[in-house]
Amino acid sequence: MSNQHEHHEHFILPVKLGIFVWFALIIGTIITVLVAQVHLGEWNFAVAMAIATVKAALVVTYFMGMKYETNDNRVIAVSAIIFSVIFFVLTATDLFFRKDGVYVQKGDLEAWAALGADSQTLKFKKPWVSSDELVAHGKKLFDMQCATCHGSAGKGDGPASGALNPKPRNFTQASGLKNGRKPAQIYGTLQKGLGTMPSFGSLPKDDLWALAHYVSHFGPDVLKDSNADLKKVGIDPSKEDGGLGGAGSKVLPIDFAIELMSEDS
């Protein structure tokens, strides 16, 4: 019997309250449609969202019984709103306040797209041998993919570095890189990832080499790979393509997908 008693304490929606809420929701809908016929400029959107939010609040408070809920469940409901707001604000901040030049440019995208499924060629011949073009290409990739954590000067002080522990490596120092700071060693780290640092193995192999050469340029001196170093990361310097074969897996970056979506439509 005690169970039955407990159940009586649950909130039961009175018929009148239910009908009142329903009526308010219908009126809200009518007002929304009517207001949309009047031109208030930017206010139309604000008014429509305000009415929708009042309607949503009525549904949550009475139909879903939030007014009579436990505090646990209130926290869950409120956190749903907070998480959504964070989601929206951070996405919008990233998109609308990003520095010029950090966007993936259309030319890069087309170059990546050209490395499609039927292409097995690399953009650079013998990318394990450093060249000015490779380093310049590496800088472009670094600013896009790596500078957020490692900083655009490679000092490990990028905007996201504060949140990371251990801190991103400082490439201007002679020590601190666990796998070593020769280009081939950096190339290996890029492919496999290391601790908090994710793997970038989905990038084309020559892009990885360009990054490795660029990163090694931050150092106090630029080290050279021996043939043994190259063999360790699977490069056979005697072959024209170094045994690299394809250009890497054909994964498109998200930025690219968004760009394509808005370009095509």
Partner: protein, 214 residues
């Protein structure tokens, strides 16, 4: 296997029926939390693309039928009320009424889908389709397909929630008709009610966002 409500005992791993009910309900709220975040992805995409293409969104939105959208809003609000009454009837031991209100909720959901079917088939007919499939000539902005990508994705995922909800209602109707729900056990009805109101809530936002862009 059917257990009549009055004879029901709580599962052994709960201290009491109340404990079982409270735990189940919390699980439902947590499920709804992830549902909110699931839809939030679509709403964020909508917000970003609308901010980038305000004129295109305005023009494309004019192609939607406000009357149909408003009708469906009213239909869903009514179904929320009947669902709330289904829960109430179970709580007050009026089992026959519970079954009746569940069936009415199911019928209203069917009306929603029929209206949506007419809307969709019209869009298909005049080439108001997502992305690269967009062939309508009335809209001149080349990006108009983007609006319809969002329209079909958002209303489609919402419609999928309606369809899955209808299947659950059928299951509830079956159980209710076997007197499995009553004042001391109505957890499935109440928890499904939460889900159903949530689906209504999403539509309350979708309607002005998609149909009423001024």
């Amino acid at each position: 296997m059917a257990i009549v409500a009055s004879e029901r005992k709580h599962s052994e791993h709960f201290n009491s029926a109340e404990h079982e009910f409270v735990s189940s309900k919390q699980g439902m709220w947590l499920f709804l939390l992830q549902e909110v975040l699931f839809f939030a992805g679509l709403f964020v995409a909508y917000g970003i693309f609308r901010a980038l293409n305000p004129e295109m969104f305005h023009a494309a939105s004019q192609m939607l039928d406000v009357k149909m959208g408003a009708l469906n809003t009213v239909v869903l609000i009514c179904s929320s009320l009947t669902m709330a009454f289904a829960v109430r009837s179970a709580q007050t031991n009026q089992t026959k009424k519970t079954t009746m209100y569940l069936i009415v909720t199911f019928l209203l959901a069917s009306v929603f889908l029929v209206v949506k079917y007419f809307e969709y088939s019209h869009k298909f007919h005049v080439g108001l389709l997502p992305g690269q499939y967009f062939t309508n000539t009335e809209l001149t902005d080349p990006k108009s397909g983007l609006f319809f990508s969002l329209y079909f994705m958002m209303t489609g995922v919402h419609g999928l929630h309606i369809i899955l909800g209808m299947l659950v209602i059928l299951w509830l109707v079956r159980r209710s008709s076997r007197n499995e729900f009553g004042s001391n056990y109505y957890t499935p009805v109440e928890l499904f009610g939460l889900y159903w109101h949530f689906v209504d809530l999403i539509w309350i936002y979708l309607f002005p966002l998609l149909y009423l862009i001024d």
